[in-house]
């Protein structure tokens, strides 16, 4: 297994871990958005959707562990790469022209990623945690829209919107960057990657944002 250790500790190996885990997390958020869209179907539909998932609890638990491992490996490889890169770039220029030669999203990956991480921790400790406490006739729908930790709480809803926008900024660079790391962006798939990238950095974050805006602010006002 020496070859695997060498690969995983190489700069490109760390990038490979970053890209693979990032793309798997993209698949997760796509699935998550589909689930969230059930909110528009009303309380009964949403509750029955979550209840159906709960019926497969052992499987859901296994998937949760796998997603956690993927998420942690994304964070750990990100931290390792950031530390390596800080060591490599020992001193800064008197005049910094990064904005002229690179995109905003590519330069702010650590910041946008950190905000999304804080959001995920908050999301798990509120919505996910309360979902685990629901038994019998409890309503998952009420937790999501409630004043405590749901969209009924304007601070929570506003942070949700900000986090989703920053996730979009993160994915604007991250999604296509993963394919560059895999070495396929120089091929005939370039056009397809750009189109798929737009789904993940624009459409999906916009979907989450719309749900928060609708249930947090708009639905109440009209």
């Amino acid at each position: 297994m020496n070859w695997l250790t060498t690969f995983m500790n190489s700069s490109i190996g760390k990038k490979f871990t970053m890209g693979t885990s990032g793309l798997l997390l993209c698949l997760f958020i796509a699935q998550h958005l589909v689930g969230n869209m059930m909110l528009f179907g009303g309380e009964a539909l949403f509750n029955s959707y979550v209840a159906t998932l709960s019926a497969f609890k052992p499987l859901v638990r296994i998937i949760e562990v796998i997603i956690s491992i993927i998420f942690l490996s994304h964070i750990i490889s990100g931290i390792r790469l950031t530390l390596d890169n800080k060591r490599a770039n020992s001193s800064s220029y008197n005049v910094n022209t990064g904005s002229e030669t690179s995109s905003f999203s590519s330069r702010t990956m650590a910041i946008t990623g950190s905000v999304v991480f804080i959001f995920v921790i908050m999301h798990l400790s509120t919505i996910w945690y309360r979902f685990q406490l629901v038994h019998g006739s409890g309503s998952y729908y009420d937790i999501i829209l409630g004043d405590a930790v749901g969209f009924g709480n304007p601070i929570y809803a506003a942070f949700y919107v900000v986090a989703m926008i920053l996730m979009g900024v993160h994915l604007k660079h991250g999604f296509q960057s993963a394919f560059q790391t895999f070495g396929v962006s120089d091929s005939r798939y370039k056009g397809l990657i750009e189109k798929m990238s737009m789904i993940f950095w624009l459409v999906i974050p916009a979907g989450f944002t719309w749900i928060a805006l609708w249930f947090g602010f708009i639905a109440e006002a009209i």
């Binding site: 070859w3 060498t6 690969f7 190489s10 700069s11 490109i12 190996g13 760390k14 990038k15 490979f16 790469l81 390596d84 890169n85 060591r87 490599a88 770039n89 020992s90 001193s91 800064s92 220029y93 008197n94 005049v95 910094n96 022209t97 990064g98 002229e100 030669t101 690179s102 995109s103 590519s106 330069r107 990956m109 660079h173 296509q176 960057s177 560059q180 790391t181 895999f182 070495g183 396929v184 962006s185 120089d186």
Partner: protein, 246 residues
């Protein structure tokens, strides 16, 4: 025209450097940037001061010896131009130019604007060559090479190894340089034979030299005086993944 300069001065590797301000008068717009520095150095020597050290050789944009950042841009503000081919007509009378050496942990400053780029040499020594017996010089049509591959190999081979990619990268990554060197061999029949060991050795040496890793910001491509494309990094990644995992 009159040009004001804020130049990084550093006595030697160990010394702590700092910026020093100069003013150069009667600068012709037809002068190259280095001819302007030559003019300043002549004045400094006449005054008994130490001239500004900077790397240069061919002054034709092909040797890769030169390289400074001017107002934060590697090789100055123009695209696809080396420092030596930059002319003063790119600036205005009274401009202030901040002139700095390449800044990266793997490119330590030797003196003033001169940095040690031996790390690039060591990467080339680790695999940037063809060691198989290729025989005598064959006729050009003896080994058919698709034009698209020949052109891609040539494009990659135009890398002059100046280090601008490292200098401008926020991670001081050398992947555009290594990518170009790996790609130029990988595209050609003689180079393909040793592609697996080459890419593994060159990446290992690149990491050992302490260069950072690419975050695909594209700054290197934007600043490369030979306009080496980011696709070279994609090729490097693909070659390394295949060599390591397949």
């Amino acid at each position: 025209m009159q040009i004001n300069l804020k130049v990084w001065r550093q006595e030697n590797r160990q010394a702590i450097g700092g910026y020093k301000n100069y003013s150069v008068s009667d600068v012709s717009e037809h002068m190259s940037f280095f001819e302007m520095l030559d003019k300043l150095n002549n004045e400094l020597v006449r005054k008994g001061e130490d001239p500004i050290a900077f790397d240069h050789d061919c002054r034709e944009g092909i040797c890769g010896s030169c390289g400074v950042t001017i107002n934060g841009r590697a090789h100055g503000p123009l695209r696809g131009v080396t420092s030596c081919q930059l002319h003063m007509r790119s600036f205005k009378d009274g401009d202030t130019l901040v002139v700095e050496p390449w800044r990266a942990a793997s490119f330590p400053v030797i003196k003033d604007l001169v940095v040690d780029r031996k790390s690039f040499d060591r990467i080339m020594e680790s695999g940037g060559y063809v060691s198989i017996n290729t025989g005598g010089t064959p006729d050009a049509n003896a080994i058919p090479i698709p034009k698209i591959d020949a052109d891609a190999a040539f494009d990659s081979a135009t890398c002059i190894g100046c280090g601008a990619c490292v200098a401008i990268c926020k991670n001081s990554a050398a992947m555009l340089f290594v990518g170009a060197k790996v790609t130029q061999f990988t595209k050609l029949p003689q180079g393909k034979v040793e592609r697996r060991e080459r890419v593994k050795n060159m990446v290992a040496q690149m990491d050992a030299e302490g260069f950072g890793s690419c975050t695909n910001t594209g700054a290197c491509e934007a600043e490369c005086p030979k306009e080496i494309s980011l696709t070279n990094i994609a090729t490097l990644n693909k070659e390394y993944l295949k060599a390591s995992l397949c």
